[in-house]
Structures are given as C-alpha cells and as structure tokens.
C-alpha cells in the first residue's frame, strides 16, 4: 500500500519548491529558476526567436521542467502537486519572455491548465504581449476519433516540445510553429495503463484505487479512471491491445514512418518497459510500418502509480528532421 509515510519528503507544503530547488542545483549548467516556480534555461535563447513556454502541476517529474533546455522548452511554469500554476504566475512568465517574435504557449488539455492559460493569454493580450496557444490532446482513452476537446493531454507533449524547440531554434515564426505543432498533434496518440494507482503526496488521498491483479487501460495522469478495467494480462498481450488501439486512431498509410515511445509512470521497472516496447515495436514492423523515432524512458510520472503510457505517432520528414536536431535539456539530449 502506498502511503506518504514511506516517502522521503519534508513539510508537504514545501514539496514543489524543494523539488525545483534540487533540480536546478543539480543541472545548473542547463536550467535555473527565473522566478517562483518558473524554470527557465540557464543560457537563454536569443530574443529574435519564438519562446516555447508550457505549464503544469508538479508531481510528474521529470515533466515538464525536465525538458527546459537548448532545443526544447524556454520555460516551464509549475503549479503545486497535480495543480495548475494559476494565471498570475503564468502571466509573469509571459511578461518575462515578451518579444517581437512572440511566445508559443503549449497547454496540455486539463481544465485547470486550460483555464490558467486562457486567462493569462487574455491578460497578455491586454498588455500587448504576443502569445499564441497550442493545445495538446493525445489521449485516446475516452474513445477513437473523439472531438479534441474531449481528449486530455498526456506525455505526447514531450516529443512535441522536442520538435517545436528545434523548429524555433531554426528561426521559424510563431505561425509556422503553430502549423508544425498542430500537424504533429493531429498525428500522435497516447494510451495509458495502470496496475496500481497513486496517492496524493500532500494529503495522502488515494486516487482511484485498483484491486490487485486488475489493470486499467486509459487511466489518466492523476489516476482518474479511464473505464477499461480488466484482469491483468501479460506484457505482450497488453502491448498488442494498446498499440492496436493507437493504430485505430492514427490510421497510418502503408509503410508509414512512425514514432513509438514507452513512458514509465513511476512504479513500473525499466525491465518491464523494455519488454512492452519490444512487442509494440514488433507489431508495428509486422504491419509494415517503419519505426523512425523511439525511446523508452520515464518522461512523465505519476508518483507511485504503476503502469506506462504508450505514445505513437505518424512522422513526416519535417518532424523527423526536428526530432533529430540538437537538444540539451536535463532529461532529453540529442547530439544532432
């Protein structure tokens, strides 16, 4: 049974501040705090390029601040555990990155984040700050081909940061970045599975308890139920079900070039993630698709939730090019 009493924390009220402090101390060559709960690059990108900014609650480390760095994000605005940062702090970050080239604000579709982003952008507009929003909605747990508003943003935002960051370093305009990002978003899908839910590290609340031996396909990144509870299956069986659901959404053309990422959400071992990846990759190959970008890594975690997110995408040559450009964030490095 998970329990905050087995977690190495101090005062629960200070978790977010302390985890960010530790993070920027450890990676001081790449990131620093630009303000309270605002992580920025240690060496800022030049002002003539569009700034890429995102926001989201803490408790998902290394996301989202782990991807602040050269060739990826310029800033991550952090809320308290599982909570949106609030419009005020976000507006502060937008003021900090005000520039003629503009700011692209990447928002994961979660109601609190969306609300903060809408309000901060409204304030920014009144203050003459050029900013546009790009919403991510990669989750398909609510169903295939649903309107994007009904789909949450999961870990698919991370490869999106990679692509946008590279395109922005190249000097693409705000509108060009929006187009590149939307094209990536429309061709990416994520599905999560959990075998053990998480506790909220500040109040010990168990979010959606799962009985032993049961897995839930579609569980969100705060433990919210996705509906697909079933008895636990083997790695191969689970991977096959999930990759086939993702393919149903993506509808790849014959021989399509694809991205496949397995994201561990906290309590599932790298050993298991490798085994899952193996099967999903083989299914794609057997169907004649070409895996051109791949990764097995904890990129967005959910405390001690066990399980993973499987992220698949259709990659065009433009996206492949940006995916392999140089990046140097603490949790994503590409030599380029």
């Amino acid at each position: 049974m998970s329990d905050v009493r087995i977690k190495f924390i101090n005062d629960p009220a200070n978790i977010t501040a302390e985890l960010l402090e530790g993070y920027v101390l450890a990676y001081a060559d790449k990131v620093k705090l630009g303000g309270e709960n605002i992580v920025v690059r240690a060496h800022a990108k030049s002002d003539d390029k569009v700034a890429i900014v995102t926001l989201g609650g803490a408790g998902h480390e290394p996301a989202l601040s782990g991807f602040v760095g050269q060739g990826m994000l310029d800033a991550s605005v952090v809320g308290d555990i599982f909570a949106a940062p609030g419009a005020q702090r976000l507006f502060q970050a937008l003021q900090m990155f005000q520039r003629e080239a503009g700011i692209l604000l990447v928002v994961l579709n979660h109601s609190g984040d969306v609300m903060s982003a809408n309000m901060a952008c409204q304030m920014a507009e009144r203050a003459g700050i050029k900013v546009k929003q790009l919403m991510t909605h990669d989750d398909i747990s609510a169903g295939i081909d649903l309107p994007i508003d009904d789909r949450r943003g999961l870990a698919g935002c991370v490869p999106l940061f990679k692509v946008l960051g590279a395109a922005s370093e190249e000097g693409k305009s705000l509108d060009e970045l929006l187009e590149i990002g939307n094209r990536f978003n429309d061709n990416i899908a994520t599905l999560a599975v959990a075998t053990h839910s998480c506790t909220h590290p500040q109040n010990n609340a168990i979010i959606a308890e799962l009985p032993a031996g049961v897995m839930e396909i579609g569980m969100g990144q705060h433990g919210e139920g996705g509906g697909g509870r079933q008895p636990m299956l083997s790695a191969d069986e689970t991977a096959e079900i999930m990759i086939n659901l993702l393919l149903k959404q993506l509808k790849p053309a014959a021989g399509a070039k694809m991205m496949l990422i397995i994201n561990g959400v906290g309590a599932t071992t790298q050993m298991e993630l490798n085994i899952i990846y193996r099967k999903a990759h083989k299914v794609l190959e057997a169907k004649g698709y070409q895996v051109v970008a791949s990764r097995i890594q904890e990129i967005l975690t959910v405390q001690e939730q066990a399980g993973f997110q499987m992220i698949a995408g259709l990659m065009d040559d433009d996206h492949i090019n940006y995916y392999y450009k140089q990046a140097d964030a603490p949790y994503w490095t590409t030599i380029g």
């Binding site: 419009a87 005020q88 507006f91 609300m115 309000m119 304030m123 009144r126």
Partner: protein
C-alpha cells in the same frame, strides 16, 4: 435609476463585498461538502482585491479592467479566475461612463461571455454558472428602462437558481466525483454569486 455611473457601480461593489464577507464561513462550509472548503476565503480575497482597484480614479471601462487584473495578479485558483474573467469581460462590454438599460445589459453580457470562455459549465451543472447565467438572462428579458428593475430581476433569478442547485448532482470540478452525494446542499459558487447579485440590487 435611468443611468448607471461609475460611482453607482462602486457603491454596488461595496454592498456586494459586505454581504459576501458576512457569509464567508457559510460559503467555505458549503464548499467543504464536496471540495476543499476554501471558497469563502477565496471569494472574499478576490473581491477585496477588486474593491481596492475600483477605488482608483478611472473611467468605467478602465476601472473594470483594473479590477479584473488586480484579482488575477493578487489571488489564484478557479474562484478568482472566474471572478476576474467576469470583470474583464464587463470591461469589454462597457461603453461609456453613464450606461442606460441597454448599456447595463451589454455590460453584464460582456461579463458572462468572458466567463463562458473560462468554463464550459452551464445551467444545471451545479456551479456558479447556475447563478450567473439566469441573472444575465433575467436582465435581458426585463423590458423596463429602470436599471433598478434590471438589477432586481437579476437578483431574483440568481437567488432562485442558486437554490435549485440544492437538488442537483455536481457535473463539474472535483465535486463531480461525489455523484449522488453532492445532492442536498447549495453549490458554494452559486451561493456567493447569487449573494453578489442580491447586493447589486440593494
């Protein structure tokens, strides 16, 4: 009252703040039934930031804009985002320093339109929208040229609709997880917004 001036509106705000402050604990207790129990504190601190900003000498439109900004800059959370959006939206809808009945309707419709951009909640979802939407609709439906009539129609509609939330099942926010258990008490946001409209009417 044939026109609403900046000073009239300042007086309305002061009344609303006093009435909300008087019921602060009640709103928090209602919120604690299905939420984190901070709605009373949140709405009072948001309103207090707005009041402070409204005391500066400014035209009507600027004053409303500054109130919205002050709420957003000094407080955080969904309560303040929604109230901040309301005043910013009223600023959008505000045309002049002396508003006639149609001007007042445009003012409140501007507020509602901007809150709608922040939340998809509608009437029947057991949120503050259960007070706001019927209040603005009642103003629109009121054919009187007397602004006092508009405000009192809004107050009446907001009060009745907030009371209707007692029998509703929450469909938004954290309260949604309580399902049937969310029945039996008034939504805290509907209660505080209805209080505001009640105080606006005097």
């Amino acid at each position: 009252m044939n026109t609403l001036t900046t000073d009239n509106f300042r007086a309305m705000l002061q009344r609303a703040y006093a009435c909300i402050k008087a019921r602060e604990d009640e709103f928090s207790k209602l919120d604690a039934i299905t939420g984190d129990g901070d709605h009373g504190t949140a709405i009072v601190s948001a309103f207090s930031a707005a009041i402070k900003a409204s005391e500066k000498d400014a035209d009507f439109k600027t004053m409303l804009n500054d109130m919205g900004f002050a709420i957003m800059m000094e407080t955080s959370g969904s309560t303040s985002t929604l109230l901040g959006a309301f005043f910013l939206g009223m600023s959008n809808g505000c045309a002049g320093n002396e508003l006639d009945a149609n001007g007042v309707k445009a003012l409140f419709n501007g507020g509602l339109a901007n809150v709608r951009k922040q939340t998809k909640a509608d009437v029947g979802d057991k949120t503050m929208m259960d007070a706001l939407i019927p209040a603005v609709k009642a103003m629109d439906d009121c054919s009187s040229d007397d602004i006092a009539d508009l405000l009192s129609a809004a107050a009446k509609a907001a009060k009745k609709s907030a009371e209707d939330t007692i029998d509703m099942i929450a469909k938004f926010g954290r309260a949604r997880n309580y399902g049937e258990r969310s029945k039996g008490s008034m939504d805290s946001g509907a209660a505080s917004w209805a209080t505001m409209f009640g105080a606006f009417a005097g």
